[in-house]
């Protein structure tokens, strides 16, 4: 008996329907709850702010020391900082560093954590032991103190460095969780069938296992972004990192150090980055709810 297998040619847009399906599916999931739409809008706004925002302002924001700590007004919607710089401008131009670093860190965490988790869980044996010991080592490293020490060596002058350092030190728990799921999945029938067919490890991992752990990975990607924002803003707030970039953490640090919490003067300067972080976190949490349903068919309500 001959079985005819249709092999897609290079000209066939084989993935296009799938991609279209993802976006259509996402839109359908989002519309189901207004909160999800709100989350997506918030996240989109911050992405636009990070990408386009800095282009709206001059590279060197103007100062006006005679107008320091001014409250919100028509000319300064969110007031001014300690040297009279517009807080909205600081917030917008400062968003890029924070967001880019957090996204790079989250991507790093997910890629490294998922890759190691899948491989270790599927291969088991020696590679699993070695990789999990490395993972345990990474997990046991106290993140914040390590970053404080590293800050004496690196200046984190760009978000790429910051993101990589955060990501490289934060993938441990993702790797462990993905490995656990993989260990469970590899005993399932469809994996055994794939192995029985003699499919390569790479194929099994990429085509069979990865789609099944994708929901977890996607959730982690988004949640990690918020975690890394807290972490990097915290580091800037503590004042252990250079503040040569406009940055939300620097704004909070400067506001507190200049006594805003004690005098109340320039409160908008302090609250603006805090509210921005809160809003972004809220947006991501709301979006996670939608993404969960998109990636996990069992949760679909239709």
């Amino acid at each position: 008996m001959v079985t005819a297998v249709e092999i897609p040619t290079g000209n066939t847009p084989a993935l296009t329907p799938a991609r279209r399906g993802f976006w259509r599916n996402l839109w359908r999931v989002l519309r189901r709850k207004p909160t999800r739409v709100a989350g997506a809008v918030i996240v989109a706004l911050f992405v636009v702010m990070g990408v386009v925002g800095p282009f709206l302002y001059p590279a060197n924001l103007p100062t006006d020391p005679g107008n320091a700590y001014a409250g919100p007004s028509g000319s300064h919607l969110l007031g001014t900082d300690f040297q009279g710089t517009d807080v909205l401008a600081l917030l917008v131009t400062g968003s890029r560093y924070v967001l880019v670093a957090a996204v790079i860190a989250a991507a790093c965490t997910v890629v490294v954590g998922t890759g190691i988790g899948l491989y270790a869980g599927y291969r088991r044996g020696g590679p699993d032991s070695v990789l999990m010991r490395i993972t345990d080592f990474i997990i046991t490293i106290p993140g914040l103190p390590l970053l404080l020490v590293l800050s004496t060596l690196w200046k984190y002058s760009n978000p790429l460095t910051m993101g990589l350092v955060l990501g490289v030190t934060g993938w441990g728990s993702v790797a462990r969780a993905v490995r656990s799921q993989t260990l469970s999945l590899r005993e399932r029938g469809f994996i055994e069938a794939a192995r029985g067919l003699g499919l390569s490890t790479a194929h099994v991992v990429r085509k069979e296992l990865l789609p099944n752990v994708a929901p977890y990975v996607a959730m982690n990607l988004l949640i990690s972004v918020t975690v890394y924002i807290y972490l990097e803003v915290g580091l800037f707030f503590l004042g252990v990192l250079p503040f040569n970039e406009n940055n939300w953490g620097v704004m909070i640090s400067q506001a507190v150090q200049n006594g805003v919490t004690q005098t109340g003067q320039g409160l908008a300067y302090l609250l603006s980055p805090l509210v921005a972080i809160l809003l972004l976190t809220l947006g991501i949490v709301l979006l996670v709810d939608a993404m969960d349903e998109v990636f996990n068919p069992r949760l679909r309500e239709d």
Partner: protein, 602 residues
């Protein structure tokens, strides 16, 4: 965020550095009560040892010196009596005879005698005080201490290489109880000291090693129970505060109003401001606050501020071993671009005044030393002059941006520390001004002051914040710019040697000499060294010359002169010193000794 620590540190650096006579209402020195103060960081595990950096021996309270420096801008030899009731200095300045307060007693009732001073001098040798260096031939070194009688002691300076700073260095010697400390000091210590100073080379070396080892041992030691000749003794100390009780045996006990003093831990600026906002602090050392914080603090009932001149200045200093900052035209050009008044407004609005001239001196010091300002360049903001200077240095302007001769961007990396918010705010403003003028300036903050100083000394920074004009003596003032940090070190023979940039602690990297129009070739390190050796009238001429040299060569751009701002509260105590009183540069314990601070009548 210890913004306050800048000046606190500065005042500490000023060797003996540390109010509206708030009320003329009826007051009493015997009213008792607890005086709450902010003085320094508290370490509950620290020894009661004034030489230890983390100490529970608080100057002016339970730690006493021979005298309290008035920190006069032009005469560092003016002192208030402390353990020394009076003194005579020989005309050539090499013999000091100290008369101990006749009623001086330790808190355990034993009298303060000449033996206490002699033992204290021995400990000073062990700890390596500048007037007590156990090295033969040290300029300005003490060569002998003689107990004339129970209440009289004579100190002799190295007569072949006398320094005019010796007297002040001896007067700021801590006085320790011999009957408590003598068990820690070998009985033959003075033989060892004399061998170190006058013995053969081999014997002197052995003796010096012995003294150094003793110093290392003593620095960590402290008695279990405080025995003080000051107005207070330490009763207990926790991580948050130290409690001191009035010493009834203090020679001027009648002048001391509080029955107790609580010294709160100098944790950070925020904590201090919160305490001030609660009205809980009766007297604090220098606290730099923003204008809004100041307004809020002064709105609290009883809170007042007393302020006076401070011999401390915040400056941007160049590491001239790094190009293009070795070029004087670059430094001058930058000086022309920075509006120092604006930087001061942003960085130190309430307790700083824009420095009028980059000359290594505060405005008060310029006035005090009678330096003619007609020849000094104020470097008022002038972009045209800046451009001329930059062009002379070979810099080019393209598209509004300044570039180096090779076309690379001209970058000014400014280093500060997160510990001092006035510096970080000021640095941000400097960067903003330079960026607006087409100079690519970036600010980076070290995580803490200790790291900052270590990296600074290692020559890692290019342009950094630095405290200058640290008086009171003219020598100390210019030693800050033309001392070890810039390659000039004092030799034992009284001369100076210059090390190349990057060696022997030289992180400023200035050339050993420079030609200055009207002055000729000037070696500022040698001139500075002369300040410690010549009488005041000659010092005046040297100060003028160094001011002109500094103003021309701009090794540092002075941003602001600190104002010594002390907060007091008149709810419980009154009779604080008036504004501009020299005693403001000493801790409140000294104020009390001098008759200030009375309990408020109820």
């Amino acid at each position: 965020m210890r913004r306050t620590a800048v000046a606190a540190t500065a005042l500490a650096l000023c060797a003996t550095l540390a109010a509206t006579s708030c009320s003329s209402s009826s007051s009493s020195s015997k009213g008792g009560g607890t005086f709450t103060a902010i003085l320094t960081q508290i370490d509950s595990k620290a020894p009661i040892n004034p030489y230890n950096q983390s100490t529970n021996s608080f100057r002016g309270y339970n730690a006493m010196m021979l005298g309290w420096s008035k920190n006069t801008a032009t005469d560092p030899n003016k002192f208030y009596p402390a353990i020394a009731k009076s003194w005579e200095l020989s005309p050539d300045g090499t013999k000091l005879t100290v008369h101990i307060q006749p009623n001086a007693k330790w808190s355990d009732g034993k009298p303060v005698t000449g033996d206490d001073l002699k033992l204290s001098a021995a400990v000073a040798y062990a700890e390596g005080g500048s007037a007590f260096a156990a090295i033969p031939g040290t300029a300005g070194g003490t060569v002998d201490v003689k107990v004339i009688d129970d209440k009289t002691v004579e100190f002799d300076q190295n007569a072949t290489k006398p320094l005019n700073t010796w007297f002040a260095n001896v007067m700021t010697m801590y006085v320790l109880p011999a009957h408590v400390w003598s068990a820690q000091v070998p009985s033959d210590i003075w033989d060892t000291i004399h061998t170190a100073l006058t013995g053969s080379a081999a014997d002197a070396k052995t003796a010096q090693d012995t003294i150094t080892a003793l110093g290392k041992k003593l620095i960590g030691w402290g008695p279990d129970k405080d025995v003080s000749a000051g107005p207070f003794t330490l009763t207990r100390v926790t991580t948050s505060e130290a409690l001191l009780t009035k010493n009834k045996n203090f020679y001027d006990a009648d002048k001391i109003a509080p029955s107790q003093v609580v010294i709160k831990n100098y944790q950070d600026n925020s904590t201090i401001v919160n305490l001030l906002l609660k009205g809980e602090i009766d007297g604090s050392v220098y606290v730099a606050v923003s204008q809004s914080q100041l307004d809020k603090i002064l709105a609290v009932k009883g809170n007042q501020v007393v302020s006076g001149a401070s011999p401390v200045q915040a400056s941007l200093v160049f590491n001239e071993s790094k190009k293009p900052f070795d070029n004087v035209h670059v430094r001058r050009g930058l000086a022309y671009l920075i509006d120092r008044a604006q930087v001061t407004k942003v960085g130190e609005s309430s307790s700083g005044k824009a420095s009028p001239y980059p000359a290594g001196l505060t405005a008060a010091q310029i006035q005090g030393w009678g330096v003619s300002t007609s020849g000094l360049n104020a470097y008022s903001v002038d972009t045209a002059k800046a451009a001329t200077e930059f062009q002379q240095a070979g810099l080019k302007q393209a598209g509004g941006k300044w570039t180096l001769p090779d076309g690379k961007p001209f970058t000014v990396p400014i280093q500060t520390t997160s510990d001092f918010n006035d510096w970080t705010s000021g640095a941000s403003n400097v960067a903003a001004q330079l960026q607006a003028a087409g100079v690519d300036a970036k600010v980076t903050a070290s995580s803490d002051y200790a790291t900052y100083l270590a990296d600074l000394a290692a020559g890692k920074f290019t342009v950094s914040w630095w405290l200058t004009a640290l008086g009171p003596s003219a020598y100390n003032i210019y030693q800050r710019l033309y001392g070890a940090a810039n390659g000039w070190t004092l030799g034992t023979g009284g001369g100076v040697a210059h090390s190349a940039a990057g060696q022997s602690g030289n992180w400023m990297g200035e050339a050993e000499s420079a030609d200055v129009s009207g002055l000729g070739t000037v070696n500022p390190g040698e001139l500075t060294n002369q300040l410690s050796q010549v009488p005041p009238d000659q010092q005046k001429q040297i100060v003028a010359k160094l001011a002109a040299f500094t103003n021309d060569q701009v090794p540092a751009i002075a941003m602001w002169d600190y104002v010594n701002q002390n907060f007091v509260n008149t709810n419980r105590f009154t009779g604080f010193p008036p504004n501009d009183a020299d005693v403001l540069r000493q801790p409140q314990g000294v104020w009390m000794q001098l008759g200030y601070i009375k309990a408020k009548a109820k």
